[in-house]
Amino acid sequence: MELAEDKMPSNPHPQSRREAISRLIGLGALGTATAGLGIWLRDRSRRPEQPAAGSLHKDFSVPPDPSLPEMVVARAEDPRALVRKALDPLGGIRRFISAGETVVVKPNIGWDRTAEQAANTNPQVVAEVVKLCREAGAARVIVTDVSINEARRVYQRSGIAEAARSEGAEVILPEERGFREVDLRGDVLTTWPVLEPFLIADKIINVPVAKHHSLTGVTLGMKNWYGILGGQRHRLHQRIHESLADLAEFMRPTLTIIDAFRVLIRNGPSGGSLGDVELRRTLIAGTDPVALDAYAAQAFWDLDSGRLHYLRIAEEKHLGTRDLQKVRTKVIEDGQG
């Protein structure tokens, strides 16, 4: 086959000395550059290590006020009214939320169950908390949780997504992209992926639902922090009490509101049958997470807080007090307030 003149390979024999020298210089430069690149790359060689985890430790709580109760137990017919009723004695939402803040509301949005089945936080309670935060001037109110069942179904089925959005919340589904590795600096919990909104918040309101659980007996406020984690969190159950205390130490909420409007009294934490649910029309709100869990365990399961090992550890870590005698408590019965 004959090649056209312009497609012929360039003549390897240089025509002149000048050409030969310039080509040698060019090749020398290319060789040097290649060697330089090689040496530079070799110097870069390191044994690969996991990227260092950030360690964001933030206390979201507000300063204590000795003139106000630390815990309020309220009962009412309507879940929305209940929220206001429980928060007013604590100083109202404005004690906790200031204008322009980013607030993360953390309900339990774990299971593909309806509101009546009480495996998730009551959507009306969540909606009312969102509404109050908006009224207090919060710039962003984010509602999010790392679901246990398939998140898209859970957010829809629980009714929380719709209720929260209707009050102006940003509902964020846990996407693979949405986690950041964080060193929790706990006794048993080290580096875990944490859902991003929990790391960027100014204030965090924990809104768990009171449920039975076969390992800890109950799942209340502190157990709700499971839902900030991604990854293989099923390993936590092996040292559940230490894990819960670690999480509680990492997450110090502004406010905790335990939803006990409907209580999943057995077969928790997933439930599924209305026969497992008791209508208690109660809300427990407060600033001492340990006291709140201790109170709820006592009130709904007659469980002494001494039998909840995680609460004992949490108390040792000075996260709150189990001794309900020492907690400034206000109880508002139905019809009062």
Partner: protein, 558 residues
């Protein structure tokens, strides 16, 4: 205007056809992307369903309807839609292949790419009718007989099922991965404009092209390679798949023998320029001087579009002097292919794998019919796998035998069956997974009483790997996840001795086979990551009368 002359200028028909192809392909891809559960913020008490009729292309597929009618002696739900393709084909011919079929349009596109193998005379030659184009009729004959004997092998080659399966399981997951990688790289940079671009792209593709979570499919590579091969063959011979292999094309070709639309050749106006051959899709010899092969023509109208002399025209009730109306099949070969279809089924089914020693991990989705009826209906389109929100449904390889290849199997390690989800039964076009409601799946009757839930298998412990059983550690994750109420997994306190000789209290889990539904949530959640300490096998599945082991399971309370 002469008798039966088509009113429209035939030069323009090409463009109308192209518009139709683009439109139908866009609709096909749109519905495929919508075959994914995306959730909504609207609270739903009852069944959660997809808002679009995502399997409409499969339901309108005449081959799927015919083989299903042969194997199940009935037409399931939407398969009646196939008539809107089949009946016009009686009158017009294979318009579906040239105007509608998404695989046809893809082949058309790849066939029109420049190729060294198709230049000058070679190109004209490659578009001439070839006797091997009859192969598809023999394939069809074998598949129809197999369907008559109760096996839906046709699904492996049905063009719609093949396209849905290949794109959904083999191509789109890769697209999703690539998109995520690009976005992650952009997010990872410190350059502000790039981050902005990433945000903009993310905003555009999330909820449409991007899946909520990265899907993973077994067989994805093989399915993708099969598809790529079909596309690449177009570079040698335009629409090789459609001309030589497609059983739906064969079916439509066969039923178009009486169609009234045809090509009329006018020898006197022809200058033998051969332009009609250049872009011929079907390989049906439109030029004067050779017989026009009616059953091969896709009605793409490229021939009349390219003809400068009006030497050929499409007409209703044309003169048939130069037409071969039906594919000229050889009787012996036809008998041989019918026989192949007939012996294939007994050969495939007289194996222990089919009858007595079925793969214990062949967990079919809830609503799936008993294996015989299932294989008589499943066309392996992959819709159920695409729609499964937990990515739990995967294409089989040999778990269901060679016959059941690429049918759905639930793999709990990848994802469990969401207890209230019935999406796979909603999208199944053929009723292999019969449409069920959530209440039926959960065993709740309309009156609010409870009956037996649909079981897809039963869970078993591997006590050698289970933490409380073998390693003196607490762990109740399986029990926590168990969705039945009361729970099928129960815990009993036990004293175990750890390595230091100390006695420890743990709770050890057990399965109650009366309550277990085989959803696989326990296996999915088991923290023993690689090989779980609890696993589900298909035994006890509701759909089978023989795959049972408990003498009497709880009877439904009425």
């Amino acid at each position: 205007m002469a008798r039966g002359e088509m009113g429209m200028n035939q030069q323009k028909l090409q463009k109308v056809r192209l518009a139709s192809q683009v439109l139908f392909f866009a609709l096909f891809v749109f519905l495929l992307l919508k075959s994914e559960f995306r959730g909504s913020f609207k609270t739903v008490q009852g069944d959660i369903r997809l808002p679009y009729p995502v399997s409409i292309f499969l339901e309108a597929d005449p081959l799927a309807a015919v083989v299903n009618a042969l194997s199940s002696h009935a037409l399931y739900r939407g398969l009646l839609w196939s008539l809107i393709i089949l009946i016009p084909t009686f009158f017009l011919g294979r318009f579906f292949c040239g105007w509608v079929c998404p695989l046809g349009s893809l082949n058309h596109f790849f066939g029109s790419l420049k190729s060294e193998r198709k230049r000058g005379r070679q190109r004209l030659e490659s578009n001439r009718y070839r006797p091997w184009q009859k192969l598809k009729y023999y394939v069809l004959a074998a598949l129809l007989v197999a369907a008559l004997f109760g096996s839906l092998l046709a699904g492996l080659m049905d063009p719609i099922a093949l396209t849905v399966r290949s794109l959904a399981l083999g191509v789109l997951p890769g697209v999703n991965y690539a998109l995520n990688s690009i976005l992650d790289t952009l997010y990872g940079t410190q350059v502000a404009p790039l981050k902005f671009a990433a945000n903009a792209v993310h905003f555009l593709v999330r909820g449409t092209l991007l899946s909520f979570r990265q899907p993973y499919f077994r067989q994805g590579l093989i399915l993708g390679l099969v598809f790529a091969s079909i596309m690449i063959l177009n570079l040698r011979i335009t629409r090789f798949w459609c001309r030589a292999l497609c059983p739906l094309g064969a079916l439509l070709g066969a039923v178009s023998r009486w169609s009234i639309l045809g090509l009329e050749k006018r020898r006197e106006s022809c200058t033998d320029c051969n332009r009609c051959e250049i872009d011929c899709q079907g390989g049906d010899d439109p030029m004067p001087g050779a017989p026009w092969r009616k059953a091969e023509c896709h009605l793409c109208f490229n021939c009349v579009g390219h003809c400068p002399e009006a030497g050929i025209r499409f007409r209703f009730f044309p003169e048939r002097t130069e037409t071969v109306e039906i594919p000229e099949l050889q009787r012996r070969r036809l008998v041989a292919s019918l026989a192949t279809g007939a012996v294939l089924v007994p050969i495939l089914r007289s194996t222990p794998g089919f009858a007595t020693a079925r793969d214990p991990r062949l967990i079919r989705p809830p609503g799936a019919l008993d294996e015989d009826s299932f294989l008589a209906r499943c066309i392996r389109c992959g819709e159920c796998m695409k729609v499964c929100p937990n990515n739990a449904l995967q294409p089989t390889w040999l778990e269901a035998g060679l016959e059941g290849m690429w049918s759905p199997v639930l793999v709990p390690r990848i994802g469990y069956c969401e207890p209230t989800c019935v999406l796979c039964s909603q999208v199944c076009p053929t009723g292999a997974i019969w449409e069920i409601a959530q209440s039926e799946k959960l065993g709740q009757s309309q009156e609010g009483g409870s009956g037996a839930p649909i079981r897809i298998g039963t869970a078993f412990y591997d006590r050698g790997r289970c933490l409380p059983w073998a390693m003196a550690r607490e762990c109740i994750v399986c029990e926590e996840w168990c969705p039945t109420s009361p729970k099928a997994i129960y815990l009993l306190p036990a004293e175990v001795i750890d390595s230091s000789g100390e006695t420890r209290q743990v709770r050890q889990p057990y399965v109650d086979p009366e309550k277990c539904i085989g959803c696989g949530a326990c296996e999915y959640a088991c923290p023993v990551q690689n090989q779980p300490a609890i696993y589900v096998t298909s035994i006890g599945e509701t759909r089978s009368r023989v795959n049972q082991f408990i003498l009497s399971r709880e009877r439904p309370r009425s």
